[in-house]
C-alpha cells in the first residue's frame, strides 16, 4: 500500500524534516506514527498525499510512484486516500449530511449513489440522527466523526489521520480510535499520526517512531515508549 525508500525531505530554509526514511505498510495494516512535535510526522503525511515531493528517495502509494505522477493524476490518487485532521476541517455553513455528501459531489458521483452512501456512512459513525445539524451544534467528538465519515465516504483504500484526537478528551478519543479500528477491520489501511500515548498503548498495533526526521523505531504490537521489554523483545524490522 505504502512504500518509502531512502526518503529525505529538506525544506528550502535548510530544515531537515525527514532523513533517509525507509518503510513498507501493507494493505490492511493499522499503523501509528508517533514522535514529538517537529519530528517529521506532518511532512510524512504530506508526502503520502502528494502535497509535497521528497528531495530524495521514492514514495510509492497504491502502486504508484508519486514522483512520476502527472499533475492531472494527483486528484485521482487522492480519491483513494481519506484524510482526517486535528481541526476537523468541516464546512460551517453546511449540514452534517451536506459536509459528507460534498466529498462525493466534488468527485462527481451520481446523485443516486450519494443518497444511498451518505446515510450508510453516517450510520457507521453513529450520527444518523444528527444529519441535519450544523457542525457548530456538535461536540468535538461528533465533529471528528463527521470528518471521518467524509474521509471514508468515497471508499478509499487508505485512511490517514493526522492527530485526530488532539482536541478531544480521553473518552471521546477512545471512541474515534475504535471507529478507526473498525474501519481497519473492514479492510481499509489506516495510518494514524498521534501524540496520544494511552491510545497507542490500548490498541497494540504497529508503531513507527520518528525523531528529528529519522525513523528510530518500527515495532509490531508495540507501545508508545521504548520500554525495556520492547527494546529486548520487539525486533526492528
Amino acid at each position: 500500500m505504502v512504500l518509502m525508500e531512502h526518503v529525505s525531505k529538506v525544506y528550502s530554509n535548510k530544515t531537515v524534516a525527514l532523513l533517509n526514511v525507509g518503510l513498507e505498510i501493507k494493505k490492511g495494516e493499522f499503523v501509528f506514527v508517533v514522535g514529538p512535535s517537529g519530528a517529521g510526522k506532518s511532512t510524512f503525511i504530506k508526502l503520502l498525499i502528494r502535497e509535497d515531493l521528497p528531495t530524495q528517495g521514492r514514495v510509492v502509494v497504491n502502486g504508484q510512484d508519486l514522483a512520476t505522477l502527472r499533475p492531472r493524476q494527483i486528484p485521482l490518487l487522492r480519491r483513494t486516500i481519506g484524510v482526517v485532521f486535528q481541526d476537523f476541517r468541516l464546512l460551517p455553513n453546511k449540514t452534517v449530511y451536506d459536509n459528507v455528501a460534498f466529498a462525493m459531489e466534488v468527485v462527481e458521483s451520481p446523485r443516486r449513489d450519494i443518497r444511498k452512501r451518505v446515510p450508510a456512512v453516517l450510520d457507521l459513525v453513529g450520527l444518523r440522527q444528527k444529519a441535519r445539524a450544523f457542525p457548530a451544534e456538535l461536540s468535538g467528538g461528533e465533529q471528528q466523526r463527521v470528518a471521518l465519515a467524509r474521509a471514508i465516504v468515497n471508499n478509499p483504500a487508505l485512511v490517514i489521520a493526522d492527530e485526530p484526537t488532539g482536541n478531544l478528551d480521553h473518552e471521546t478519543s477512545m471512541g474515534i480510535l475504535n471507529l478507526l479500528l473498525e474501519i481497519n477491520r473492514m479492510g481499509t489501511t489506516v495510518i494514524m499520526a498521534t501524540h496520544a500515548r494511552n491510545l497507542v498503548n490500548a490498541a497494540k498495533k504497529r508503531v513507527i517512531a520518528l525523531e528529528k526526521g529519522r525513523l528510530v523505531r518500527d515495532d509490531e504490537e508495540a507501545s508508545y515508549e521504548i520500554t525495556r521489554t520492547a527494546m529486548t523483545a520487539g525486533g526492528r524490522r
Binding site: 486528484p75 487522492r78 480519491r79 476541517r89 466529498a103 459531489e105 466534488v106 462527481e108 467524509r150 468515497n154
Partner: protein, 295 residues
C-alpha cells in the same frame, strides 16, 4: 463530467455572487461602463461614416437636366458628357429614381418624404464619375456649358474631412474602451480574489478529497462570465434606450440629419457588447485564478 458538475458550479457561483454583493456590483458596473463608452463611440463612428457615405455619393458630379429637355436632348447631352476628357462613367438618374434614393438616405425618418410623393420636385439628371478628384472641377465647368443642363453640383473636401473624423472617433473610442477594460480586469481580479478567499476552506477540502482542477475552477469561471455578461447587458440596454430616444428626437426636430437606422444596428452592437463582456469576464477570471488559486 456532465450536467451534475455544472449544476454544482452554477449553484456555487450564484451563492458567491450574492455573498460578495458589493464587489460583484462594482465589477458589473465597471464592465458596463467600459462597454457603454465603447458602444457610444462606435455609435458615433457609425453615424459619421453613414453621413460620410451619404455625402460621398455627392463627390461625383451631378448634372441636372432642364425640366423642359426632350428625350433627344437628354441623349445628346449624355453623349457629350461621355466624350469629355476624364469622364469614366455617366449614369442617367430619373426623377423617380432620385426620390427613391433620397428615401434610402433618410432611413427611419423617411416619413418626411411622404408629403412630396405626389408631386416629385426632383429633376432628371446624370451622375458623372471622373477618373481622379482633380478632374472634378474641369469636367463640372464643361458640363455646365452644355445646352440641356440646368445646374451642376459637386462636393469633395467635406467628405474627406468627415472620413478622417470618423477614423479619429473610432480610434479614440477603442483606446478609451481598452483603458477601461484594463481597469475592469483589475476589478474582476479583485472580485475573484475575494471569492477565492471566501471559499478557501471548500477549495482545500475539494483538493483533499480529489476534485479535479477543472472542477474547482468551474464555479469561479462561471462567476466571472456572469459578471461580464450582466455588465454587457446593462450597457446594451443603456445604448439601446438612449439611441432610440435620440433617433426619435432628431427625426422630429432635425429631420435632414441622416442617422443610422436603429435595426439591425442596435442588435449587432448588442451582440458585440455581450461577446466582449463574456470575454472580459471569463478572461479576467482565468487570469486571476492562476494567481490566487494554486490548484
Amino acid at each position: 463530467m456532465g450536467l451534475r458538475a455544472w449544476e454544482y458550479a452554477i449553484r456555487e457561483s450564484a451563492v458567491s455572487i450574492r455573498r460578495n454583493g458589493l464587489m460583484s456590483l462594482a465589477a458589473v458596473s465597471t464592465i458596463g461602463l467600459a462597454l457603454l463608452i465603447l458602444a457610444t463611440f462606435l455609435t458615433l463612428a457609425a453615424n459619421l461614416q453613414h453621413m460620410a457615405g451619404y455625402l460621398e455619393a455627392q463627390v461625383e458630379i451631378r448634372a441636372f437636366l432642364r425640366a423642359d429637355a426632350a428625350v433627344k436632348v437628354r441623349d445628346e447631352t449624355q453623349q457629350a458628357i461621355s466624350a469629355l476628357p476624364g469622364v469614366t462613367k455617366v449614369t442617367f438618374v430619373s426623377r423617380e429614381e432620385a426620390l427613391k434614393r433620397l428615401r434610402q438616405q433618410f432611413g427611419e425618418q423617411q416619413g418626411v418624404l411622404d408629403a412630396v410623393e405626389e408631386m416629385n420636385p426632383l429633376p432628371d439628371g446624370f451622375e458623372i464619375k471622373v477618373d481622379q478628384p482633380e478632374s472634378v472641377e474641369k469636367v463640372a465647368a464643361a458640363v455646365e456649358k452644355l445646352p440641356g443642363i440646368e445646374k451642376v453640383k459637386y462636393q469633395q473636401g467635406l467628405v474627406q474631412r468627415l472620413f478622417r473624423l470618423t477614423q479619429a472617433v473610432r480610434t479614440l473610442g477603442i483606446a478609451l474602451a481598452a483603458a477601461l477594460a484594463a481597469a475592469t480586469l483589475f476589478i474582476i481580479s479583485n472580485t475573484i480574489r475575494l471569492t477565492v478567499f471566501a471559499r478557501r476552506r471548500e477549495v482545500a477540502i475539494m483538493k483533499l478529497v480529489g476534485a479535479t482542477d477543472a472542477f474547482i475552477r468551474r464555479p469561479f469561471f462561471l462567476e466571472g462570465l456572469a459578471l461580464g455578461v450582466v455588465g454587457a447587458v446593462v450597457a446594451a440596454l443603456a445604448i439601446w434606450l438612449s439611441y432610440s430616444w435620440l433617433v426619435t428626437g432628431i427625426s422630429l426636430s432635425l429631420p435632414f440629419i441622416p442617422l443610422v437606422s436603429r435595426q439591425p444596428f442596435l442588435a449587432n452592437l448588442s451582440l458585440v457588447l455581450v461577446v466582449l463582456g463574456a470575454i472580459i469576464g471569463a478572461g479576467g477570471t482565468l487570469f486571476s485564478l492562476k494567481r490566487y488559486l494554486k490548484v
